[in-house]
Symmetry: C2
Subunit: 110 residues, 2 copies
DNA sequence: ATTTTATACATAGAAGTCTTATGTATATAA
DNA sequence: TTATATACATAAGACTTCTATGTATAAAAT
């Protein structure tokens, strides 16, 4: 992703949130969406994304639908039932993480 | 640290911010401080902290003062000049990271 | 006509961070 | 006397991500 180690560990949470939001997406679409949302500040690399998608699929968090569009392969991913409930937990953890980091960075506000 | 991968990559930023705030601290003190600030939610493990401190020292970000207190060794760390300016960058990156993550999690607000 | 860019997938090797487990040592509380 | 708190440290393994590389089609630019 971008500079800074901070994004490490947030990839699966990002993917799961986007799929919750958009129903189903394919890999390349996810990279473009993240670039767009963050105004180019965060770029997800393919070397990180594809193995992550495969792992989430193997864990039963995502399921895949393969389609052929314009003579090109597309693998659409969507959350399974398990994945949907997992996403709730992930987002709660993310909120808690952000809250904790803000407590550290800005101790006066807490 | 705690559950969730999210904290990966945030350790050095946390350490640098705490040292900026408190002047100088020793390892054990840092672990306790973080536990206190986050109300026990974030626990920094020694296996992560000590190697991180050594690395930051090797990079010239931190410098160490060894003292003997109550027959126990203490290694106080503080930011070097380089470390102080590095901390400014790290905190800016953290703010940007949080902003980006919030854009992803809550696209309606942006 | 040919090269570059965009789309779309994939993996292998290396780098880097963190966890778990373990080790040393002193002081205090149970 | 045993457990807990204080205080340091490292080694092995797990895990994630990056860089580099590979395949393939289509469109745009030179």
């Amino acid at each position: 992703m971008k500079n800074s180690q901070l994004y490490k560990g947030s990839l699966t949470t990002i993917v799961m949130k986007l799929l919750e939001e958009n129903g189903r997406m394919y890999g390349y679409e996810i990279t473009q969406k993240v670039k767009e949302i963050t105004k180019g500040e965060l770029k997800i690399t393919e070397g990180a994304l594809y193995p992550a998608l495969h792992k989430l699929e193997a864990e039963g968090v995502l399921e895949v639908e393969i389609e052929n569009v314009d003579n090109r392969l597309r693998k659409y991913y969507k959350l399974t039932e398990k994945g949907t409930s997992e996403t709730v937990n992930r987002l709660a953890e993310l909120e808690e993480f952000i809250k904790n980091m803000q407590s550290i960075v800005n101790p006066k506000l807490t």
